[in-house]
């Protein structure tokens, strides 16, 4: 009956094993195509190394590469955390006051529209070669989606629930903590998930300039010495890091907001 309107439900759509297996299959196919291409067209490793070359490269100096990954990860997480600590309260304030929203919003838009690569050198001039310019770059990258989604979430409270709280004579604080903030959580998490990927990009950009550590620095150095394979190893580690951070957020969301899963 419903064959036409409903997507077919099979083992592939419903099984949790398939949920883990399918992404792996997708990845394996992509890697296979890459590998096939390097062999079929006999591409030189300095142009495009094969997956195997990349793996070998990693095991040449695993401790070093993992340490640089750790550095980038730390910057990313610190900047992301800072963006939450600053961004969420700003969004909450914006939502409460139309005047502030009008005052601050264009500024936020402006800061967000600046190409971040352009200010990386400036950050180094202002803050030196330590980790601060990196953390600030990450902050700049992921601050905006967090503010937007939090503000959006805070505005999405259904009127009937607000009316319910009013009819119960709830104080403004109660309305805020027991209703509005809770209701906004799924949307806030959506912002976090967008932001975490941008955060990783931010850390790489900042490590291109005035850095002596981190995966961005490794990539930059490998460019200088035409070590394409090393660059690929670093890029692979970066994407692994991105994926790990993203799914950490997904797990956290599942755990904190079990009630929100049903809406997906």
């Amino acid at each position: 009956m419903s064959r036409r309107t409903m997507p077919k439900r099979t083992w592939l759509t419903d099984s949790p094993v398939a949920a883990v297996l399918l992404p792996i299959v997708g990845l394996a196919v992509a890697i296979g195509l890459w590998w096939g291409a390097t062999i079929a067209f006999s591409i030189e490793p300095y142009l495009l190394p094969s997956p195997w070359d990349v793996v070998v490269k990693f095991f040449d100096q695993p401790a070093y590469l993992l340490q640089e990954t750790g550095t980038s990860m730390l910057e990313t997480v610190e900047g992301f955390g800072l963006a939450i600590v600053i961004g969420v309260p700003i969004a909450l304030v914006i939502v409460r006051s139309v005047v502030l929203e009008r005052l601050v919003y264009p500024l936020l838009l402006m800061v967000n529209s600046i190409p971040k690569v352009a200010i990386a050198p400036l950050l180094v001039i202002w803050m030196g070669f330590g980790q601060w310019p990196k953390v600030v770059m990450v902050l700049l990258m992921c601050f905006f989606p967090i503010v937007i989604s939090t503000a959006q979430g805070m505005k999405s409270t259904p009127t009937e629930l607000v009316e319910l709280m009013r009819s119960l004579n709830a104080s403004r604080a109660q309305e805020f903590f027991k209703l509005r903030l809770r209701y906004a959580m799924p949307q806030i998490f959506t912002g976090f998930k967008v932001a975490i990927s941008l955060a990783v990009i931010g850390s790489v950009i900042s490590e291109f300039v005035g850095a002596t550590k981190g995966l961005g620095y490794v990539i930059q150095q490998s460019g200088a010495s035409a070590d394409t394979t090393l660059a690929f190893a670093a890029i692979t580690l970066l994407s692994v890091m991105s994926i790990v951070l993203f799914y950490a957020l997904v797990l956290l969301e599942h755990w904190l907001l079990p009630w929100a899963q049903e809406k997906r």
């Binding site: 259904p158 907001l257 079990p258």
Partner: protein
């Protein structure tokens, strides 16, 4: 219990002023069940919100239990058309929300006991730990009913509470409500679109005119309780009064009462 004297409500809409209610004089006695019917947009919800203290009237006076209404009172509960449950709270803690909000209340444990009783009363025992999305619409509305009963309100204001439910659940719940009402002698003002429901539930039916909402007529219902739509008891009486209400609702008003907008 509830007194409205010359109550009017004018809204500042986007296209000028909208008179939602005009010259409403209504006196609801303690323990009385009044249903409110009228066309969509005639101001029924507005009237309930005025009594609930969610909205100050632009003219006239609203009193509950002899005191002018200045804001929501703890002995008045409001039930909405949709369940309005907080999706992250279990059934039990949704029912207990009014108690939790009221910081003055000290005996939380007592209320917990009461919540279990109420949930059992509406057939939801065993569902205390469930989340709202795990329940059907009818079950959610039952939870909402329990929530509005948790503090033994003197007055219950109900805005089309059963209109989103299927006919069977609706009949069940309206029987439930009559039983609860007889047990607790709560004063109830109940808005509905269904003429039959209005007749079956009410001691008196108030008919409002379309915009602006005014009192068209108040009809006393003298059919003995308990009444039911489901069983065929009192069918003829219900049908007779329903017919009359239907005529009142569809009747054009006399020309001199229609004001140009």
């Amino acid at each position: 219990m509830i007194r409205l004297d010359g109550v009017g409500q004018v809204f500042d809409g986007r296209e000028g002023q909208v008179t939602a209610l005009e010259k409403i004089d209504l006196h609801v006695r303690g323990g009385e069940f009044v249903t409110l019917i009228g066309r969509s947009g005639c101001g029924k919800s507005t009237l309930l919100r005025l009594i609930a203290g969610l909205l100050p009237p632009t003219s006239g006076a609203v009193q509950v239990a002899g005191k002018p209404v200045t804001g929501p009172r703890r002995d008045v509960s409001f039930m909405f058309q949709r369940p309005a449950l907080l999706p992250w709270r279990s059934v039990l803690s949704n029912v207990l929300l009014p108690v939790e909000i009221d910081k003055g209340d000290r005996n939380k444990a007592e209320y917990k006991e009461r919540a279990h009783q109420l949930l059992e009363l509406v057939g939801l025992q065993g569902f205390e730990r469930r989340l709202p999305h795990e329940l059907s619409g009818g079950m959610q509305q039952r939870v909402s009913l329990c929530r509005s009963l948790i503090r033994d309100p003197q007055v219950m204001l109900m805005d089309e509470p059963f209109s989103a439910l299927d006919a069977l659940t609706r009949t069940e719940l309206s029987e439930e409500l009559q039983r609860i009402k007889m047990e607790l002698s709560t004063t109830i003002v109940f808005v509905t679109h269904s003429i039959e429901e209005a007749v079956v539930l009410a001691d008196r039916v108030v008919v409002l005119t379309p915009r602006p909402g005014r009192m068209r007529e108040v009809v006393d219902i003298d059919i003995p309780r308990p009444r039911s739509l489901g069983q065929n008891a009192h069918l003829t009486e219900v049908a007779a009064i329903s017919g009359r209400l239907h005529a009142l609702l569809s009747e054009k008003e006399p020309v001199d009462e229609v004001r140009p907008r």
